[in-house]
Assembly symmetry: none
Homo-oligomer: 268 residues x 2
DNA sequence: CAGCCTGTGAAAACCCTGTGAACACGTCGT
DNA sequence: ACGACGTGTTCACAGGGTTTTCACAGGCTG
């Protein structure tokens, strides 16, 4: 299944308005999150921004260019660091790269290439990043754990198969929206649903069965006739009682995929 | 885990004798290990060389330049990939970078800068690589000692081969997460798993066999159907039963590499 | 009420994993 | 150089879990 990559976070330190204009336009199109600065930024502030990459015109932070570069590289070893300058000698570029820069491009530069280089740097940085799996998702008394490909109710594993887990994951990460069958199929199976295929229905049944079995007092998957399915933890038909006296205190019953949804599946 | 050689290993694919001459001189001075090729190199040969980086003039591998680039990048995600060309449009450079290249420099290029860029790429590659610092890890009555490339059960060596140890190490250091086969393969073998490769399964069997032999009362490697494997020390199939399966008695059966590593981390 | 949509149960087809063994390769001792 | 040995890779098959398919029953909409 294809996963939407978390948006890269970028800080740009530059003052070249013309370049910035065309660069930011492309960044927007590419879906980056970014902030622009016109001068040196305190190191701890950079840290706080949880950046993926930093694009910096050394001239802007003169006269402490090298020092700034070195500090940033030393303080944020995982940060992608790309320097861009009007004119630079080979010696300067070499020095910058040795100091910790990941790339160095010269103005005038095509924004598309700058972005491609930023992507390359971020990609490389991500590669090593130990499976920053998304945090578990909690709804009702259900906990969905991507690192286990499994869901837990009251600390007990539900025993989902691969597909069941993927389906639950897709539904739960939809943020309470109703998903159409074709949409669900597309996301879970990875290709278009054939006309008349009932797989989604069948798996919804299996899921419901297992969930009900492990968490009887909640309703998780809701049918929308003629449309599709929606995930939301509902206290449900409260004929069954005795076990769960306090449901009211549970704050967010709806799934809240605020944490990025990077499932770690690399199906070839 | 791939061994990161003290000296970076580089392959150069280029035919520009003048450039090569001056480049190799500098490479020698900088203490790199390298080999020079004058044409396309079979993918499996690249794998066998355990490279840190690859410097390639795309013109030399024409007409399959892009394909070659893509294959190399796909097969060796951890390989530093730097392209160098005489003339290239922005579009070409962008394409190359998107295809997986880590950097792209234009001839004529100063060898020192090329080396600096190679260093930068390798540094980045390495940075992410093994955050899994060495430190004994205990789970069940198993002790995994990175300094010995060996595991011990009840003080007795299990007798693991290199690959078996790497596999066990990767699994045990995953912190109880389920690892997919491709993931495991990538980490142990160092390159992408070919479709249909069963090596991981076979080694899991060997590992289980040896572990069972030396520590019969514990289960360490758990299969997750359709997903992969997970490491966790389980008291195992105790034929004696009658008592309620209260899992509360076994405190921390799961491996916790983070905690263990803090103890003896001698980062050189 | 008719027509389509969904829930359900079970059988069949499919794919995944465990397993044993043959095969390829490099090392080391004789 | 030769052959025994340890290691890693590949293959085919068996068993079983998983997924798909199918038919029918029950609901919802117009």
């Amino acid at each position: 299944m294809t996963v939407s990559p978390a948006k890269p976070r970028l800080a740009v330190i530059d003052t070249d308005s013309g370049f910035l204009k065309v660069l930011t336009r492309r960044l927007d199109a590419a879906g980056w999150e970014y902030r622009v600065f016109s001068g040196p930024v305190p190191a701890d502030e950079l840290v706080a921004m949880k950046l993926s990459a930093l694009l910096i015109d050394l001239r802007v932070v003169e006269p402490i260019g090298w020092e700034f570069l070195e500090r940033a590289a030393g303080m944020l070893p995982d940060l992608g660091l790309v320097v861009i300058t009007q004119d630079a000698t080979v010696a300067q570029r070499v020095r910058g790269l040795r100091l910790g820069a990941d790339d160095w491009v010269s103005k005038p530069a095509h924004p598309e290439e700058v972005i491609a280089r930023l992507e390359s740097v971020v990609r490389r940085r991500r590669r090593g990043e130990q499976r920053t799996d998304v945090g578990p998702l909690v709804a009702g008394d259900l906990e969905i754990r991507p690192d286990q490909f499994e869901a837990f109710a009251a600390g007990q594993a539900v025993g989902l198969t691969r597909r069941e887990y993927e389906l639950l994951s897709v539904l739960a990460n939809a943020g309470g929206r109703v998903l159409e069958r074709d949409d669900i199929y597309q996301r879970v199976w990875g290709y278009a649903m054939a006309h008349g295929d009932r797989s989604v229905d069948v798996f919804v049944r299996k899921l419901r069965s297992k969930l009900r079995q492990h968490s009887p007092s909640w309703e998780y998957i809701h049918t929308h006739f003629g449309v599709g399915y929606r995930f939301e933890a509902d206290p449900g038909p409260d004929e069954a009682e005795a076990t769960e006296p306090s449901e009211a205190d549970v704050a967010s019953t709806t799934a809240t995929p605020e944490a990025a949804n990077v499932a770690a599946s690399s199906t070839s």
